[in-house]
């Protein structure tokens, strides 16, 4: 057996994880805004740096992670984050989708009493562009509306997101990652096609 080639994780685990946490917190509290993760991390393909940094920041031994990124990326995450790897998306606290994301309805939804026990979907997309064009976002954290253009999601994603919103307070939250950039949509945000 040859050990899979591992690459290093966060260069400065404490400072980098705190910087990434701030980026995700800002992105989640102002849905549709695009933030840059401050960490310099080179994960194995097909992981992008933003998705890898977000998972190294948020995942730990108590949060099962499911990913479609292949065995090398899964082994890298398990080693650096110390997270268990879920065998199916239904069992995971964090779902990392490099390809087409799984149906939102099958992910852990939380309960009406404990909606925070839901899964977070981390989706890698081709590009994120805030400011003009694309989706019109409304909801808590947005004064009037935010514009966010996302390339690389399936065309029926906004319909799926509408169903996810309808189950409030249950539902999943979404983190979008492209390159080193991250944007987030909590389950309260409404998407209108622009």
């Amino acid at each position: 057996m040859r050990a899979a080639a591992l690459s290093p994780g966060l260069a400065d685990p404490v400072a980098d994880a705190q910087g990434c946490f701030r980026a995700v917190l800002d992105a989640m509290s102002r849905p549709g805004s695009v933030r840059r993760v401050p960490a310099d991390v080179r994960p194995p393909a097909p992981l992008v740096p933003a998705a890898a940094a977000v998972l190294l920041t948020l995942a730990d031994a108590a949060t099962p992670v499911w990913t479609d990124a292949g065995p090398d990326a899964a082994a890298w995450l398990a080693f650096h984050a110390g997270c268990p790897l879920a065998t199916s998306p239904e069992d995971a606290a964090f779902v990392l989708a490099c390809g087409s994301p799984p149906s939102l309805g099958v992910l852990v939804q939380g309960t009406d009493e404990e909606p925070h026990r839901s899964a977070t979907l981390i989706a890698q997309v081709a590009a994120l562009e805030a400011g003009s064009g694309g989706w019109r976002l409304r909801g808590p954290g947005i004064e009037a509306e935010h514009r966010l253009r996302v390339s690389g999601l399936p065309s029926d994603f906004t319909a799926r997101w509408g169903a996810n919103r309808a189950a409030f307070p249950r539902g999943v939250d979404l983190v979008l990652c492209a390159g080193r950039e991250v944007a987030a949509l909590p389950r309260t945000t409404a998407i209108e096609e622009g």
Binding site: R2, A3, L6, G9, F79
Partner: protein, 157 residues
Amino acid sequence: MDMGEIIGTTAEDVVARRRWMGVLARASGAEIAARLREAAPLPPHTRLRGPEIGLVMARGRQGGDGAPFNLGEITVTRCTVGLGSAAVGHAYVAGRDARKAELAAVLDAALQDRALRPGLLDAVIEPLATAQAERAARTARKAAATRVDFSTLAVMR
């Protein structure tokens, strides 16, 4: 530098790896570094994780065979390095010696390589094991000199 075949997970491999990690864990960082200076130079390594310091719960058994209990937390330094393209070495050592943890991880990675292993076993592991055995024997002799024989008490029961 050419890297040889990396060892697998057969029973002999596991036993051999356990032995060299045990020897490295009992040696001091300075001892390992001194032995390494006399060995052939190792290929460059990259740090994958650490060295970083943390706590682990040490467990004990009363009398060696009682029910396990939590003895207390001990400080542990861990390090993982990559050597060449395939070998990954891990080390968890008691204490706060980051250099020792890194050297042990590098040696773990190098010793998994069948081409590097014989030279390193002769130059590093065997001399350390011999020194540790001598130290243990010396302590045992000292203890034996002050031994009290309780056989007379056994008769009184």
